[in-house]
Structure formats: structure tokens, C-alpha cells
């Protein structure tokens, strides 16, 4: 962490210089809601490509999607595992279960990213 914090200003400077103000930034507010929604979808084992909020369907921003999915990968997989019917021996081996469902989370996220490239007239969430 110390090494990361040491190089963080340099990385920030390079990103700003490269993207010249067009880089994606996390703005809180609606972005938080979108991240929560993505995690909710992953927690139910669903590809988070179309998100429903208050009866309307949205697409997530791809950068938010990647970050939210990674957050879910780090913190949310037990939620998913607890919802799935498992045999006793599967429950006993938590590490292999985590690895298995971690791969699924990765696949669902990649599928959502692929789907986001398809043309559609829906609105982006937090665009």
C-alpha cells in the first residue's frame, strides 16, 4: 500500500495528461446507486447488463460496471454462495466454492461488457 500511495500522484498525473479531462470519474450520488444495483444483480447470479430502477431499465456505465464487479468479487461472493443450494461437501470446501463463483462473476461481467457494445436506445445510468 505504501508503494502504491507513493506512485499514486504520478499515475494520476499521467491519466490526466493522457485523457485530457475525458477520463471517467466517480461522482458519488447516482454512481453509488448504480454500483449498488450492479452488486445486487451479481448477488442473484444475473448478468448486470440491464438494470431496473424504479420501473425503468438502464444500462450501467462500463467503467462503473468493471469497478462494481471487482468490488463484488472482493466483498460480495459470500452473499451469492449463501443463496445457492449446495451439497454438504461443497459447503465444507469454501475456498473452491469461492474460486468457482468468482469465475462466474468474471464471466457475467464480461458478458455484460459485451452486451454494452450492442446498439440500444436505452439510457445509461449515471451518464
Amino acid at each position: 500500500m505504501k508503494a502504491f500511495r507513493d506512485i499514486q500522484p504520478y499515475v494520476g498525473h499521467l491519466v490526466t495528461r493522457t485523457f485530457q479531462g475525458h477520463e471517467a470519474r466517480f461522482h458519488g450520488g447516482q454512481h453509488f446507486e448504480c454500483v449498488e444495483a450492479i452488486q445486487k444483480y451479481l448477488g442473484w447470479g444475473v448478468v448486470p447488463a440491464t438494470l431496473v430502477n424504479n420501473g425503468r431499465a438502464f444500462y450501467p456505465d462500463p467503467v462503473l460496471l468493471i469497478n462494481a464487479a471487482y468490488l463484488f468479487y472482493l466483498e460480495g461472493i459470500p452473499v451469492l454462495i449463501n443463496r445457492i443450494k449446495q451439497k454438504r461437501e461443497e459447503r465444507a470446501n469454501y475456498i473452491s466454492q469461492r474460486e468457482k463463483w468468482g469465475k462466474s462473476v468474471e464471466q457475467w461481467t464480461l458478458k455484460a461488457l459485451e452486451d454494452l457494445r450492442l446498439p440500444n436506445d436505452r439510457e445509461f445510468w449515471a451518464w
Binding site: A37, K40, Y41, W44, G45, V46, V47, A49, T50, V52, G55, R56, A57, R83, I84, K85, Q86, E90, S104, Q107, W108, L110, K111, E114, D115, L118, P119, N120
Partner: protein, 236 residues
Amino acid sequence: MVSKTAEHERRGVLTSHEIKERLLLDINLPSSMVITPLLEEKTAFDIDSVDLRLGTHFLFPRVPPRAYFCPDEDSKDSFHMRVHVPLGDFVVLPPHHTVLGATLEFIKLLFDVAGEILTKSSVARTFTLIETAPWIHPNYRGCLTLEIANVSNTAMLLYPGRRIGQMVLMHVAVQKSKESEVAAILDNTYFGPVYPEAPPFKNPEVDLSNIGIPSVRVIPKPTWRPTIKPPKKKKR
């Protein structure tokens, strides 16, 4: 006498209106449903069905390492070859050949709805069939694996992204007292696949011992042994 299921007004095939309503429910609700991506939404629905498209991943059968194929614990990756065909390209299915594909759409069904996927009639009239195991259980989620068979005498070009099947959904009369229990159970068999999946099998002796068959004839698997001994290291 009124049966327990008669208390349900929900019966028969879901209409497009019901499907659309459920697509806009919060994901936390057990009666919510997901179909994503839903392309050309205005024309995707018929009054009692929704069109599904061909996905971009395929499993082609390949010659197994032995002269036979035995569905067992070791067979999962030995019978298929994975191929990705990007949107805009096509895959050639030779005459009288079969390939496993998947729908482009990821589906999440409701706890009280089962479904069936059928070949679109326009596709079936080209002698291409997509399903021999068409039933979709309640609570299923994932892209649907399709067994695509070209039963014509001509090679067929399959384009990912084109409409290939239609899904019909039907109510399952779950007792109201058991609704929350049924909604909470997510089966882990074929849970959430986004690519066509090869089937997992148990060994035949395990399956048959479950029904009381004590002795099962199996062909012993050849174990690999080096026939040439490694050269001995020369002493200096």
C-alpha cells in the same frame, strides 16, 4: 372441491404484457424476470412468446481420445471444442452435423414460471433444429444452451446475433404457503452459464449403485506410462 392451486389466478402461458411487466420489477423481488440484451424490443415480442438470438460461443464435437465416448466424470472436456465467432462473422454447420450454441440473451426466470424454447418456424423450415431438451425450469438463470442440428443435405451458415428461437413461458402453480421457500432455492446445476456448457456426468457405477446395481462393467482407462526411459545422467 377446490384444489389448493385454484387460489391462483395465474394460469396458462404468460402474455407479452405480463413478461414486460415482470422485466421491470426490482431484481430483489422473486417474481422479477431478466432478459438481457433485449434487442429490437418492439418486434422481439409476440403475444405469447419472445424471440431469442444466437450467441457467439459454440462447442463443436470433436473426436474423443478413445474410440468411444463414455459419459463419466472425466468426459466433460474431452468431447467438445470451444469456438468463438464474433458478431458479424458466421459459422459453417456441415450437413447432418450438430453443434452446441447458446442464446445471446441471458435469462432469469421467476420462481413460479417455467419455459420452453422452440425453433423459430422460419429457421425450422431451413431444416435447422435448435433444441432437443427445450424445457427451462423455474428460477433458471443463464444463457440457454442450444443443440443446433443441421438435418439438411447442405452446409448451413449460422450468424450469431440472428433470431433463432422463441421462448414461451408458463405459470407453475406453486402453493402460496411455499412461495418464499421455492423462491429462495437456487439450484447450482447449470447456474448462470454465459457460454454453451458441456454436461457434467457422474461415473456410471455411481449412478447405477444409487438404484441398487452392485456390479457395473466399465472399460478400464489406459494409464499413460512412458515407454522410453529417460537417459541416465552421465557422471563427470
